[in-house]
């Protein structure tokens, strides 16, 4: 019995070691490879709490192993009756007071960090035109299985891909237009729920060193069960240096109504104007009210890194998606909103959509 127990402990130690060797997950996705001030603070708290907790575990384990090894019933002492101890006040006080102290150590940074992470005061300082003074604000709107990112002070709207400058606090207003979702970029900071009844505010900072390691792309997730395709409600974060970001905003602003290049794409444009434009906009400054923006903005669709947030960005996958969205993302709201497309129409629309790029 004792031997078996040892064996079991050994196995679990090996398991932990194996884990440690396998690393801390993918750097573009793991909370254990923090790439921003928020994630770093949270990582610090994780480490602090883990250290305290491991301390507790060690104490318990030592007593535990001693007790079950030392006080076993054997043939020799089979009939002995141990002394019936009622308790021990000194011991009981010790194991009440020490945990309280340990918890205090943990509680102080907890409270302090909770307030720090909730500090969004720069968002509230507006200039004469109602624009935010010194902060970059992004309105995040979660929808059944897609994300919209609006830069209210810049007049730009993008979908699925969030563009942010590095080494600078970015402030978010998050909300949902249907059911509750949760906005999460694990490597950069914890999540905030997007509620249907009001906006939540918080901030994140994307550091340039961390961004470099992941080729300037972080993964974002929806963290609240929101229906069949909850698992597929991914988005990507593209990080840019401040200069590149300024350039990007200029490009986006200047992006006029796209001109289709080539006959096939022109044909695609016609299909787009007939079947898609009711929901999807193809310019970055969509002036329609939120309620009318029922589908992702396609202004820079050609530059995206994923189709529908999940498939690799290529023509084959785009065709697959356009042909039967339900198969790719069950329960999505695009299914059935347009007539079935034949092969030629698919080719045309694909050509048109892939041409929606910034460089034009």
């Amino acid at each position: 019995m004792r031997k078996r127990l040892h064996k079991w402990r050994l196995i679990s130690i090996f398991a932990i070691l194996a884990l440690a060797l396998s690393g801390c997950g993918e750097p573009f996705l793991s909370t254990l490879t923090p790439a921003g001030e928020v994630a770093k603070k949270q990582y610090d708290l994780m480490i602090l709490s883990t250290v305290i907790m491991v301390l507790v575990i060690i104490v318990v384990t030592v007593i535990f192993i001693y007790v079950i090894a030392r006080f076993r019933r054997t043939k020799k002492n089979e009939n002995s009756i141990p002394r019936q101890v009622e308790g021990n006040h000194k011991l009981e006080i010790i194991w009440t007071v020490i945990p309280i102290l340990l918890l205090l150590v943990l509680a102080v940074p907890t409270v302090s960090y909770t307030f720090q992470l909730a500090d969004v005061s720069p968002m509230k300082q507006k200039d004469k035109d109602g624009k935010t003074k010194d902060a970059l604000v992004v309105n995040v709107r979660a929808n059944l299985y897609w994300w919209e990112f609006e830069y209210p002070d810049l007049g730009i709207i993008t979908s699925q891909d969030l563009f942010v400058p590095t080494d600078k606090k970015v402030y978010f207003n998050v909300k949902s237009s249907d059911v509750k979702h949760s906005f999460w970029i694990p490597a950069v900071g914890g999540k905030t729920d997007t509620n249907p009844e009001g906006e939540n505010q918080f901030w994140l900072e994307f550091d340039s060193k961390g961004s470099e390691k992941v080729q300037n792309q972080f993964y974002g997730k929806c963290a609240e069960l929101c229906g069949p395709s909850h698992a597929y409600m991914d988005f990507k974060v593209q990080t840019l240096s401040q200069d590149d970001f300024n350039q990007w905003t200029q490009d986006m602003k200047n992006l006029k109504k796209p001109a289709a290049v080539g006959d096939l794409a022109k044909e695609g444009e016609e299909i787009y104007n007939k079947s898609c434009i009711g929901c999807h906009a193809n310019t970055a400054n969509d002036a329609r009210p939120e309620k009318a923006r029922t589908a992702p903005n396609l202004a820079n669709f050609g530059d995206r890194t994923r189709i529908a947030g999940i498939l690799e960005h290529n023509e084959e996958n785009l065709r697959k998606w356009l042909q039967d969205p339900e198969k790719v993302k069950p329960g999505n709201l695009m299914t059935g909103k347009y007539q079935k497309l034949d092969d030629h129409e698919l080719d045309a629309l694909t050509a048109y959509l892939m041409g929606l790029k910034l460089e034009q």
């Binding site: 509620n195 009844e197 009001g198 906006e199 939540n200």
Partner: protein
């Protein structure tokens, strides 16, 4: 206490004693009823008058309600009697859960 009182040798005397005690308690009940009605009248009057600010009226009539409920519980529902320790404990526990719920809903439901 009265429950434990053994029947005395003279049952008639015992009965009279109990009758008297019950009648006495009933008088208290009527008095507390009068007080409750009085408190209700004040509450309605304060609201009817309309001259007071909302910040005075709301807590004031809440206070009146609480006092009135204490009368109900302790006199009408006999919580002042012996043998009600457990009911008290559970009623007040329920009340505190209810209070925390109300407090939460007026502070942190609308985000």
């Amino acid at each position: 206490m009265e429950n434990l009182r053994p029947n005395s040798a003279n049952p008639k005397a015992d009965l009279n004693y109990r009758r008297k005690k019950n009648a006495e308690e009933m008088r208290y009940q009527v008095v507390s009823f009068a007080l409750m009605i009085f408190l209700t009248l004040i509450a309605f009057a304060v609201v009817h008058f309309e001259g007071f600010s909302h910040w005075f009226v709301a807590p004031f009539i809440m206070l009146l309600a609480v006092v009135q409920v204490i009368f109900q519980l302790y006199y009408f529902m006999h919580m002042s009697h012996k043998g009600h320790e457990t009911p008290q404990l559970f009623l007040f526990s329920g009340l505190s859960v209810a209070l925390i719920t109300v407090l939460t809903f007026v502070t942190i439901t609308w985000i």
